[in-house]
Amino acid sequence: MKAAVLVFPGSNCDRDLAVAFRQAGCAVEMVWHKDTSLPDGVDIVGIPGGFSFGDYLRCGAIAARSPIIGALKSHVERGGHALGICNGFQVLVETGLLPGALIRNARLKFICRPVALTVETTSSDFTNAYTKGQTVTYPVAHHDGNYIASPDTLAALNDADRVAFRYRDNINGSAENIAGILSENRRVLGLMPHPERAADSALGGEDGADLFRSLAIAAVTA
């Protein structure tokens, strides 16, 4: 199983994401944003957290127009897996691979703290190691994690069981407490909280490790 982690100027969780993939048994290659193709045999593309292009213009907007994004889109169209965390979620939204938008937190401040999330669906390769309704704790660290979408989009996400995680307490103003969503084919997950920061007992939590483990298994059998 093989993961590629995209690196944009300003990405700062690229190494953290690579470590989490490796712990789950993946081989990992870092891919520079100016590249136009992914390495051969990539099963999962990780879009890491950080401040790609300084969050200038809009979070994720410039990264979503990087040369590598064409290859990401082809990978997803082929049914490949993609995981966008924090700034990675913002990038996925900006590329149109996931619906909605992420705007400034309701209280207008950066928030970094561990938060409790409800696993809303286990029918995805990212969440099938959890139980439905389970509470998991991942840290958040963002200024622009307030998820918004049109009523139609929210209805579509709910109807198709595409909300993967919700915040137990609405920390940032997100519509319907949404913390993470799946694509229509359920192989692309974008979420604001950081499972890769909760994948090691020495750092105070392992709730996120299951996400990477189940993903690694699924990607190989896909």
Binding site: P9, G10, N12, C13, R15, D16, V19, A20, K34, G49, G50, F51, F53, G54, D55, Y56, K109, F110, I111, C112, R113, P139, A141, H143, H194, E196, R197, A199, D200, A202, L203, G204
Partner: protein, 719 residues
């Protein structure tokens, strides 16, 4: 372009005294050009030259077997075993932050991060120690909001976890806030980069962001008192771009790994001037710069402006000529400017050419070596009057007076605006003693703390200086870390006043004595003087940043007690209430002497705790607020009650030094107490953890009620 004429007013506006100007005339044997005057003022201001403090800084202990590089470079370097080193420093950005809080704080963080990665180290932890005026002062809220947002606004995108710090409020900071930023990085011990240039005719390379007019004269501004013209100084504050700094970090580390770098210096205060002179001076070489090659943001910048600009995110480097193409490719990859702007020369000259005209031609070695040095007159701080009677107060009320004050309330409103987890190696985030990060890819950990109790330093500079070091030492021991070394950020008022200079001298003597006794040499630091407004100085605030090493996970001591643990006090309690938090917060009094620090007891007690960490469920140091506050903080963090037997205010809130509160499981109590006896460490069983109340002697209150106060007080007063 003709330069302005040099008049007495022009000289004074550059912060140079008539005597200093006379020295310039003597050195040059002629009058300086306007650009040359600017260069002298940049090199000779207090901020860059340490002219008032040098004499005393030399007395600090800076050596030890663990020290790879002490003061004098961009940051200190300390051995952490296995061929690795921790590189760290603390630096103030006080004056700019008061003028323009967001950018002042942001560029303070940017500057200290650059100091660390200039040495070849990837930053792995940051802290910041902040001092503000009274909560009720009209400026305070805006300063707190701006500074905190600025710290996060730079550190978060850069991608360094902010894992600790301090926030205090006191009327003495009404006219001058303090922003002290600390950063630490990790490097291979044999791959440290220094600033001394070597080789003649080597290319001098400019890297990073373009040069603009921002920050021109910033270092001179930071070397003066404030008055009511402060708003006019806003253009001297630099503007930060963390995105560029993050790219500069990655590009610089890539360039270093490629083996192209001979020497490197970041452009901080006084920008191009200071960095070029430092590289030349340390290498015993001259430097020639052609300013037409400097990447600029604005048209028609003068030589003077370019030499004094403090535009951020810039580096100067001496490069191996054969590696030029490879180096340029790395900077192109990161879309950063890369320009050869000059060369090293054999003659002792600092030669600045602009538009084919020589704008400055100065003896380079004299710029640094003949900088003025003053032995400022000083008077010893008079002994504090003895403490008067302390009014009666119920113990729970006393605790409430502390935890409802923004000085002692929980400060998550601040630290949750900082990314404390990025890099995914944070073992202990802010809120519970020292911050701890794992050394990536190993089981080792580094612990970081910053401490000072300015009230103590004012009452008794010598003991207060000792105490700042001792408290930092204790915070490291309390998590099981072996204290390695320290950095000092010395914030004082106007050194031309003998009583202020006396505070400085006293504090330095205390810091030196403590660092020697505790084997924690000072490896880097920064001095910030003239923290005065309209003649009112700040509390003397020598912030000490300290770094400790935890070699195995077993050695780590938790801060979270369990129900059933005994609460044991290590160290002797006399009940010292002079200059205590209780006096200040409950009664608005700041009297009596600072507590005396017994450095032998500090070392013995700290060593004992580290060596017996396996017998301990949790530990914390006792500092201001004493046993009651430390016990409450532990109880709150673990959400478990606490009963302390004593109801005597001195026992509960006294601030005697060299003490810890330790939670010990009943099975380990006997062994722990007997080991303490053998080691000669006083150990007193003071109570037990458990239940859902805080009980102090005969009084109690629900933990949940107190936690509610403790966790909401800061935001209620400052949000």
């Amino acid at each position: 372009m003709t330069e302005p004429t040099i008049t007495e007013d022009v000289i004074a506006a550059h912060g140079l005294t008539p005597q200093e100007y006379a020295n310039i005339l003597r050195i040059l044997n002629r009058a300086p050009s306007f650009t040359e005057l600017g260069i002298f003022s940049a090199m000779w201001n207090e901020h860059c030259s340490y002219k008032s403090s040098k004499k005393w800084l030399r007395t600090l202990p800076t050596e030890g077997p663990q020290v790879i590089c002490g003061p004098g470079e961009n940051a200190g370097v300390v051995d952490i075993g296995d061929g690795q080193a921790v590189v760290f420093k603390m630096e103030s950005h006080n004056h700019p932050s008061y003028i323009e809080p967001y950018q002042g704080a942001a560029t303070g963080v940017g500057g200290i991060l650059r100091d660390v990665f200039t040495m070849g180290a990837r930053p792995i932890a940051a802290m910041n120690a902040l001092s503000f005026g009274e909560v009720t002062h009209p400026k305070t809220k805006r300063l707190v909001a701006g500074v905190v947002e600025g710290v996060g606004g730079y550190g978060n995108p850069f991608g360094v976890p902010t894992i600790g710090g301090e926030v205090r409020f006191h009327a003495a900071y009404n006219g001058n806030c303090l922003v002290n930023a600390f950063a630490a990085g990790l490097a291979d011990a044999d791959k440290i980069f220094y600033s001394a240039a070597s080789g003649i005719g080597m290319p001098v390379v400019y890297l990073g962001a373009k040069t603009g007019r921002d920050g021109v004269g910033g270092a001179t501004m930071a070397s003066a008192e404030f008055d009511d013209t402060i708003e006019e100084k806003r253009p001297t504050v630099q503007v930060g771009d963390p995105f560029t700094e993050k790219r500069l970090l990655e590009a610089t580390l890539e360039l270093m790994a490629s083996g192209s770098v001979i020497s490197i210096q970041d452009m901080g205060a006084a920008g191009l001037t200071c960095s070029a002179v430092e590289m030349g001076d340390k290498g015993g070489l001259g430097i020639k710069l052609n300013l037409n090659l400097v990447p600029v943001r604005e048209k028609a910048m003068t030589a003077y402006e370019m030499m004094l600009s403090e535009s951020q995110e810039r580096m100067l480097m001496v490069l191996k000529p054969e590696k030029e193409a490879e180096a340029k490719a790395i900077f192109d990859k990161w879309d950063l400017d890369f320009a050869i702007v000059g060369e090293t020369i054999a003659e002792d000259r600092f030669l600045i050419v602009h538009n084919d005209t020589i704008m400055a031609d100065l003896p380079l070695s004299k710029l640094a070596s003949t900088a003025p040095e003053y032995d400022r007159p000083w008077v010893e701080t008079p002994a504090a009057a003895p403490l008067g009677d302390v009014p009666k107060i119920a113990a729970i009320d006393a605790l409430k007076s502390l935890i409802s004050s923004p000085n002692y309330a929980r400060k998550h409103w601040v630290w949750e605006q900082y990314d404390s987890q990025v890099m995914a190696d944070t073992v202990q985030a802010p809120g519970l003693g020292a911050g701890i990060v794992r050394v990536h890819g190993t089981d080792k950990m580094l612990a970081f703390t910053s401490d000072v109790t300015p009230r103590y330093v004012k009452a008794n500079p010598f003991e207060g200086g000792k105490q700042a070091v001792a408290e930092a030492y204790r915070n490291l021991c309390a998590v099981g870390a072996r204290p390695l070394a320290t950095t000092d950020n010395l914030n004082f008022g106007n050194p031309e006043k003998p009583e202020i200079m006396g505070q400085f001298v006293g504090a330095i003597k205390g810091i030196g004595e403590a660092c020697l006794a505790l084997d924690t040499p000072i490896v880097s630091g920064n001095v910030s003087l003239y923290n005065e407004t309209d003649g009112q100085g700040i509390l003397p605030t020598p912030t000490i940043g300290a770094v400790g090493l935890i070699t195995t996970p077993d050695a780590l001591i938790s801060g979270l007690p369990s129900a059933g643990d005994f609460a044991v006090v290590l160290g002797a309690t006399q009940g010292h209430l002079g200059q205590s938090a209780l006096l200040a917060e409950a009664f608005g009094r700041e009297d009596g002497d600072a507590p005396v620090v017994d450095l032998v007891a500090e070392r013995r007690n700290g060593t004992f705790l580290r060596e017996n960490g396996a017998l301990v469920s949790a530990a914390t140091d006792l500092s201001d607020g004493g046993l009651a506050l430390a016990g409450f903080e532990m109880a709150d963090a673990a959400n478990v009650g606490l009963r302390l037997v004593s109801e005597e205010i001195g026992q509960l809130f006294g601030e005697d030094q060299a003490r810890y509160l330790v939670a010990v499981h009943p099975d380990n109590l006997e062994t722990f107490l007997s080991q303490a006896k053998v080691a000669g460490v006083p150990a007193t069983n003071a109570g037990t953890f458990g239940g859902d109340k805080i009980t102090l002697g005969a009084e109690s209150a629900p933990l949940s009620t107190l936690s509610q106060i403790y966790r909401s007080a800061f935001a209620e007063k400052l949000a």
